[in-house]
Symmetry: C2
């Protein structure tokens, strides 16, 4: 019997975040996450392939938005600025979940398995971004370099954004813009 559950995905994400924070990732089972969310294990696996994926739904969303941003970018814009603008647009829905993102990052940072999954997701994102840039007529190796440079900007900005010690009240979009400007300065110095 399958019944529709309102916002099952969100409830599972929140339950996982809570249990992974409180008990630790290794000490938590999928069955416990489902129970904590008031759902069944079967429902969990309808949304997430394994115990790790529940923490990476956002990366998939980010990738989709980023690729859409490149596809929709105006003609004639320099590729790296295209990527910068798409990153800022993709960051918009993330701004609202800063506390969630910080707690999630702390869980990922504490577990090598989760770090590996995060790196895989970022590599897939970089590949998708490279393809989108090729689709806009950018040749290789410029397409891949632009994508890698854009992801470097994003990683640095995101890390600052989730780092409470570094909290200057700036939005993720602002930090992306600053990091992009900084990268240009770094590259122009040579």
């Amino acid at each position: 019997m399958t019944r529709w559950e309102p916002n099952a995905r969100g409830r599972l994400q929140l339950a996982a975040l809570e249990l992974y924070s409180e008990r630790g990732y290794d000490q938590t089972t999928v069955s416990e996450i489902a129970k904590h969310a008031g759902l069944t294990e079967r429902t969990y696996f309808r949304y997430f392939a394994d115990k790790r994926e529940v923490l990476f739904f956002g990366t998939g969303m980010l990738q989709e938005r980023l690729v859409q941003g490149i596809i929709a970018a105006p003609e004639g814009k320099p590729p790296l600025d295209m990527v910068g603008a798409s990153l800022e647009a993709a960051a918009e829905p993330v701004e609202e979940i800063r506390d969630f993102s910080r707690r999630r990052q702390a869980i990922v940072a504490a577990n090598p398995e989760l770090q590996e999954r995060e790196l895989s997701k970022l590599a897939a994102l970089t590949a998708a971004l490279t393809d989108a840039l090729r689709g806009r007529g950018l040749a290789d190796p410029a397409a891949r370099l632009t994508a890698e440079a854009g992801m470097a900007v994003f990683k640095v900005a995101y890390q600052r954004w989730v780092d409470e010690a570094d909290d200057s009240g700036e939005t993720l979009a602002q930090l992306i813009r600053q990091s992009l400007a900084e990268l240009k300065t770094v590259a122009a110095a040579g």
Copy 2:
């Protein structure tokens, strides 16, 4: 009884490469690798922590050389050029093992577990490079952005170097120089 075996590490690396190529990574055991190299499993584990590490000895070497390059770089050089020069110097011993590197890359590309380990190693390398740049007085976020940009240059250059379809006879050092110049062009366009 432990006896000294000449070039045990190199023999194990070559044996692993051969068996992983012929039989596949999943179908090969550490015991088979050791036997193929004329050594014992115990000797294998003296050099490598697990079945994957045998393919990543080079990354550790690269990291050491890269960090040494940053430490020894002349004063007053722009940081990204410091990284470029260190990457070229670190690439030098790699030039001689292009065929080995191509076979190794094919094995890594065919196995998600190995890809994850590769991404972890590259992330560790980026972190070490960031630290080395901080040690040379570069502040954050410039240090991390410079390291990430340098690693982007290296990844693109290395991928071209191991890609037989893209083989233009250039050395890894030449491809690193080209990629760095291309990154500067990309960053200057905005």
